[in-house]
């Protein structure tokens, strides 16, 4: 999948020097203002979601009724059940109140509260996306560091080329290919890994169950990592390239430090800060990848739930999952922002 290319440029806010005594108070104030900003964004998401799902063309009830036999009376009943016969302003306050109480409504398809459905699906998604993220970050940062340090070398050219290809590959296509080659098996090669769901039908207990889930995770994780790690590599590489030409690196070399020490102790820590932040700033991208990967490999997570909601379409479920995903992304971004501010003195003065 392709992400906006600005992700390649490390955060350019760094400038000036911090006034140390005031730094702590400044951080707190910064965190509070960021939190306020995040709350405002979340409020806007809730308001936006309300209008999106109600004012855009298409009557929700008629959409629900698509392809189903429903009499006008049934349609009216459905409207009443959803509160759609009330004035818009009342609907709005109902919606905001319900959302704040975490009442996301009842799924049309499952006939169950949306929140319960989300609760069930949260675990698998965290497992898949978490594992994928950890692997992608460590691999991307490691390879990006080495590519950037020996920039222009064969390793660098190979890494950059490979990540540009991976970056252009649609996530779902890569998933399909992996499924065909490693899941089903092609020609003489047998299928190596299961590619449907999170566990076998006759899943064993105990440690064997862990192994079973792990083998089901291989293909989805591989797909997610391949697509996500490419951009981490590129970000880390360009971030390190900016550090390599800095004076302090020259000084470190002039002191006679070994090349490895210059890299590990001087250049990498500085390059790491903007990169790690960007990793979390672009978490929305990982979410998009997770939706696609979960859909292909029928991984019973949030992404697949959202996909089901879109394809039915089940608007209550779609609205609930959309709200949750968006709010989670906003919270992660804000945390990344604040942590960055705390650990990097260069942005504190700005």
């Amino acid at each position: 999948m392709t992400a906006p290319l600005d992700a390649l440029e490390p955060a350019a806010q760094a400038a000036g020097s911090a006034e140390e005594p005031q730094a702590r108070r400044g951080t707190l104030r910064y965190a509070l203002s960021k939190a306020a900003g995040a709350l405002f964004s979340i409020a806007m998401v809730i308001v936006g979601t309300f209008f999106l799902f109600r004012l855009l063309p298409g009557d929700p009830v008629r959409n629900l009724a698509q392809g189903r036999n429903m009499t006008p009376a049934q349609l009216d009943l459905e409207r009443h059940r959803l509160g759609l016969d009330k004035p818009l302003i009342d609907q709005f306050f109902d919606f905001v109140g319900d959302t704040l109480r975490l009442d996301l409504g009842t799924s049309y398809e499952y006939k169950r509260p949306v929140l319960d459905l989300i609760g069930e699906r949260l675990g698998p998604t965290l497992l898949l996306a978490g594992t994928g993220l950890v692997i992608a970050v460590s691999l991307g940062l490691w390879q990006g560091t080495h590519a950037g340090w020996r920039h222009g070398s064969r390793f660098d050219r190979f890494s950059t080329g490979a990540s540009l290809v991976l970056w252009s590959v649609p996530t779902f296509w890569l998933g399909l290919l992996l499924m065909m080659v490693l899941g089903v098996g092609i020609g003489p090669i047998p299928g190596l890994f299961p590619f449907r769901g999170i566990e076998s039908i006759d899943a064993p207990d105990g440690f064997a169950y862990v192994l079973d889930v792990a083998s089901h995770m291989v293909l989805p994780t591989l797909t997610l990592v391949a697509v996500v790690y490419a951009q981490y590599l590129l970000v880390m590489r360009s971030s390190l390239l900016e550090e390599v030409s800095q004076d302090y690196v020259t000084v470190a070399r002039a002191k006679g430090l070994r090349d490895d020490d210059v890299r590990k102790r001087h250049a990498v820590p500085n390059a790491l800060l903007p990169t790690v932040t960007l990793v979390f700033m672009r978490i929305g991208f990982v979410v998009g990848g997770a939706v696609t990967v979960e859909t292909i490999f029928t991984w019973p997570g949030l992404g697949q739930l959202f996909y089901e909601a879109v394809s039915v379409p089940d608007f209550t479920l779609m609205q609930g999952t959309f709200l949750l995903i968006t709010v989670a992304v906003i919270v992660m971004n804000t945390l990344a922002d604040v942590v960055y501010h705390m650990i990097d003195p260069r942005v504190r003065s700005a």
């Binding site: 992400a3 252009s168 399909l176 290919l177 590619f195 360009s238 879109v310």
Partner: protein, 293 residues
């Protein structure tokens, strides 16, 4: 426009072309792009929409690539080659128009936010940041699902979710341009907001816009195929809907590698071509980048 200005522009353009030609990867990308666009444009001279119809698919089902069907056939005997060719029209059309929409919104918001620096600029940037945080694929899926699948809504959904990066880029560039002395001169001579933004800022950000449009088209094509694969499509044959079909009909388990490989390779080739051309453009237009990579 005076002839002096014309001559200067022509000179700048030829210098730009000379620089671009030196970027080998960029030229390769450009050639692939031209071939792809020309093929898509001339497709109606040779084939028509019936190649995508299940009714007229008369070949054998799931046929492996052969002389008759160079890229094999799908579950109802349609030629993959012809479908990919015809599907390129939808994929490229949506890619171009969505990127254009995204760039136009981004440019207008970016220049406005950079030009009016008071509360207008600040609130515009807040809106931009808000859109930037939204997970774009998920938002586009919701938009497309609510608006219903048509080529127009897919374009809207992609355009509306991808403009913020352009807006940020253009705002930064606008700020840089407006800090230059000739803007002050223009103001002193009585140039209004409209004059300054359209006569001075736009020409200065235009090269940057060209580069980011190229990259934006690449990402729009991928997004379109992903949306189509996830079931919210324009109901016309595109590379994304073909891959959706291959998944729905179980091509991976059927071992029909051609059904998966060919449309995907088409996406990959075009997207890579846009990426290469876009990166080359960036490298030519941004000397700092040229030094770094």
């Amino acid at each position: 426009m005076t002839s002096v200005a014309m001559a200067r522009r022509r000179l700048a353009l030829s210098r730009f072309w000379a620089d671009f030609r030196r970027q080998r990867a960029g030229v390769v990308g450009l050639v692939i792009l031209i071939v792809a666009v020309v093929l898509a444009l001339v497709a109606p001279l040779f084939i028509d929409e019936s190649v995508t119809s299940v009714v007229t698919g008369t070949g054998p089902k799931w046929a492996a690539p052969s002389l008759d069907y160079p890229f094999g056939t799908d579950e109802s005997g349609r030629s993959i080659l012809l479908m990919v060719w015809w599907g390129s029209r939808t994929s490229l059309l949506i890619g171009f128009l969505a990127a254009l929409l995204s760039i136009v919104i981004g440019m207008v918001v970016g220049i406005t936010a950079g030009h009016f620096r008071g509360w207008i600029g600040a609130s515009l940037m807040r809106v931009t940041d808000w859109f930037l945080v939204l997970p774009s694929l998920v938002t586009a899926m919701v938009l497309a699902a609510i608006l219903g699948g048509s080529t127009f809504t897919i374009i809207m959904a992609i355009g509306v979710t991808t403009w913020p990066t352009t807006a940020r880029l253009i705002r930064a560039q606008t700020l840089a341009v407006e800090a230059r002395p000739y803007i002050e001169r223009s103001k002193a001579l009585g140039g209004g907001h409209w004059h300054i933004t359209t006569r001075h800022v736009v020409p200065n950000v235009a090269p940057l816009l060209l580069a980011s449009t190229t990259l934006e088209v690449a990402s729009a094509i991928v997004t379109e195929s992903t949306l189509a694969f996830l079931g919210v499509s324009s109901n016309k044959t595109s590379w994304g809907t073909m891959l959706r079909g291959s998944y729905d009909w179980g091509a991976p388990t059927q071992g029909a590698w051609w059904y998966i490989l060919i449309p995907g390779l088409a996406i990959l080739a075009v997207v890579m071509a846009f990426m290469l051309a876009g990166r080359a453009l960036e490298a030519v237009l941004n000397p700092q980048l040229r030094r770094a990579s």
